[in-house]
């Protein structure tokens, strides 16, 4: 490649990262601003963090959101792992084309459509079966598990596609039962994919405004709903403080993951 072309590429790359990170940086900087006016710097202050922690509505919504995220990510992990196995290990079964469609379509389906359709399903179910009687945390968990399981299934399927099956075959030859092979050999080997899948499902749930707004009830306000209603009224420094906490948590988790993978590759002498 000519130097001019590679210089141009580096320039575009740098611009791209600036574009991706400048808005996040601006949120963090202005979360420490003493003034309510987001664009005027009035000195360093942690006032908005204090107000954020004292904000009962945000605290309650955060607890609701975390509960929903843990439950739905765990359900999505079980369903998505099963789906990933079905996709990767079973080339032929009745309805496979439909199954592939249903596990990949939720990845791109606009959220307003998913949200509306799930709400109408829950209403029809309530009408016919009497369950779910109230919409709330249960219905949001069901909705989130459904669209997050598609992401888990794709991740697990990709990991299984690159999986060396000789270890499984060896265990089977030595007389291990299939369930034992699954629990002792296969699942531990694909554990990084399972962790990634669970974390992705957890994040998707924590982040979702649209689907949750459709299927929630009056008693289940999630964090994105509170953020959305406060953002709709204009700039709010408390949201900046919340954003900074989000970024800090993600950054710490990524550093831990990076450190673990670094140690692993040093121990085994090969990148995992």
């Amino acid at each position: 490649m000519s130097t001019r072309a590679s210089l141009l590429l580096t320039g575009v790359l740098a611009f791209g990262y600036l574009f991706l990170y400048a808005p996040i940086a601006s949120l963090i900087i202005y979360s420490f601003n003493a003034s309510r006016l987001v664009t005027v710097w009035a000195g360093f202050s942690t006032r908005w963090y204090g107000e954020l922690i004292g904000n009962e509505a945000i605290r309650a919504a955060a607890a609701t959101s975390l509960e929903i995220a843990v439950l739905s990510a765990s359900a999505a992990l079980v369903l998505g792992t099963a789906g990933g196995f079905a996709l990767a290990r079973h080339r032929r079964f009745a309805g496979r084309t439909l199954f592939v469609f249903m596990t990949t379509a939720p990845l791109v389906m606009p959220e307003v459509i998913t949200g509306l359709s799930l709400l109408l399903l829950f209403i029809v179910m309530e009408d016919w079966l009497g369950w779910p009687a109230d919409r709330g945390i249960t219905t949001i968990v069901l909705a989130h598990a459904t669209f997050a399981m598609a992401f888990v299934a794709i991740i697990v399927q990709a990991r299984l596609a690159a999986f060396d099956r000789s270890l499984e075959e060896a265990a089977l030859d030595l007389g291990a039962r299939p369930w034992k092979v699954l629990l002792v050999i296969t699942l531990p080997l694909i554990a990084p994919a399972l962790v990634t899948g669970w974390l992705l499902a957890f994040t998707l749930s924590l982040d979702d405004l649209v689907i949750a707004s459709f299927v929630s009830g009056p008693a289940s306000t999630t964090l994105p709903m509170v953020i959305f209603s406060s953002v709709r009224l204009g700039i709010s420094p408390q949201i900046n403080a919340l954003a900074t906490i989000f970024v800090a948590v993600v950054a710490i988790l990524v550093l831990i993951a990076f450190w673990i993978s670094l140690r692993r590759s040093k121990e085994s002498g090969s990148p995992s």
Binding site: V12, I113, S117
Partner: protein
């Protein structure tokens, strides 16, 4: 070998449980939406009358109402919102491709040890809240916001530019939110490409730019297709971005659906809008499914 592939009871369960779940919670709801789009809105809970009613619990009466679709076709507001959504999403897809392709290319050609950290930096913003990232642009783009202040201070402009609540701010936020979905599949195809192909082209006297056009670009077409679909389809149905950063001229169909449902409480019309969107998106979704299925999602 055959012994492992043969479906055992456990394997059958691994297929049946997610299959049944998706049939009930993903496919069946669309049929209900389609049904209610032919219903009539009414006062009550829920606020609609379905087209199929069992009077006395036994006798079915079918009352198909085409009025919701007639409304969509007859009111220019819906048609404009529909066309706007397609146009804005197409523009965002083109910008994502123009910015994402060189970025993915640069990452794929970076030294091996740099690639994963560089890719991680692209994905990282995706792990923080989408809503908050869109909100960040309000502070940057508003009349007395960061960008206008910066431009005024640098002397490039004397009057603040109108950057918020118009097509500009909507496109910025769409590109910002969906750029990683373009870069990931592009990187996956570009990284797999054998550099020997380009060396062979160079040895045969091909100039670098021509080699790019005749070798690299055609080989990365699957990545381009996957990236464009992953950006275009969700962008068409976007609600948060036109709501927070849009203005009166940037109505999109996803926001129309939301407003019909939450503000007007007209569920049958909202259902008809959802069906109209699905009709538009069914072909792109089928294509995206093939692109994802081909293993581009391995990244």
């Amino acid at each position: 070998m055959r012994a492992i592939v043969n479906p055992r009871p456990g394997a059958r369960l691994a297929i049946a449980v997610p299959f049944a779940w998706l049939l009930l919670l993903f496919l069946a709801p669309f049929l209900i939406v389609a049904g209610i789009s032919f219903g009539e809105s009414s006062i009550g809970i829920p606020p609609y009358t379905p087209p199929l009613v069992f009077s006395d619990g036994i006798v079915p009466t079918l009352n198909v109402n085409l009025g919701n679709y007639a409304l969509l076709l007859g009111d220019s507001l819906y048609i404009r919102a529909y066309l706007n959504a397609v146009e804005f999403a197409a523009i965002a897809t083109a910008i994502c491709l123009a910015l994402g392709y060189p970025m993915a290319y640069a990452i794929a050609r970076a030294p091996r040890t740099w690639r994963n950290p560089l890719l991680m930096l692209v994905i990282l913003p995706f792990w923080t809240s989408f809503l908050i990232r869109v909100y960040a642009w309000i502070g940057i783009l508003k009349t007395n916001g960061l960008l206008n202040n910066l431009l005024l201070a640098s002397g490039l402009i004397d009057q603040p530019l109108p950057l918020l609540n118009n097509l500009f701010s909507v496109e910025i936020a769409l590109v910002y939110s969906y750029l990683p979905f373009m870069i990931l599949p592009l990187y996956a195809t570009l990284e797999r490409m054998d550099p020997a192909l380009l060396e062979a082209a160079a040895d045969l006297g091909c100039r670098p730019f021509r080699a790019f056009l005749t070798v690299t670009l055609p080989l990365s077409l699957p990545g381009i297709a996957a990236g464009c679909l992953l950006v275009f389809i969700p962008a068409v149905g976007e609600f948060v971005i036109p709501d927070l950063l849009g203005g009166p001229d940037t109505l999109m169909i996803g926001k129309v659906l939301w407003d019909e449902f939450f503000t007007n409480r007209d569920w049958p019309v909202a259902s008809a809008v959802a069906i109209a969107m699905l009709v538009l998106l069914v072909a792109p979704i089928a294509l995206a499914q093939r692109a994802i299925g081909r293993g581009v999602g391995a990244a």
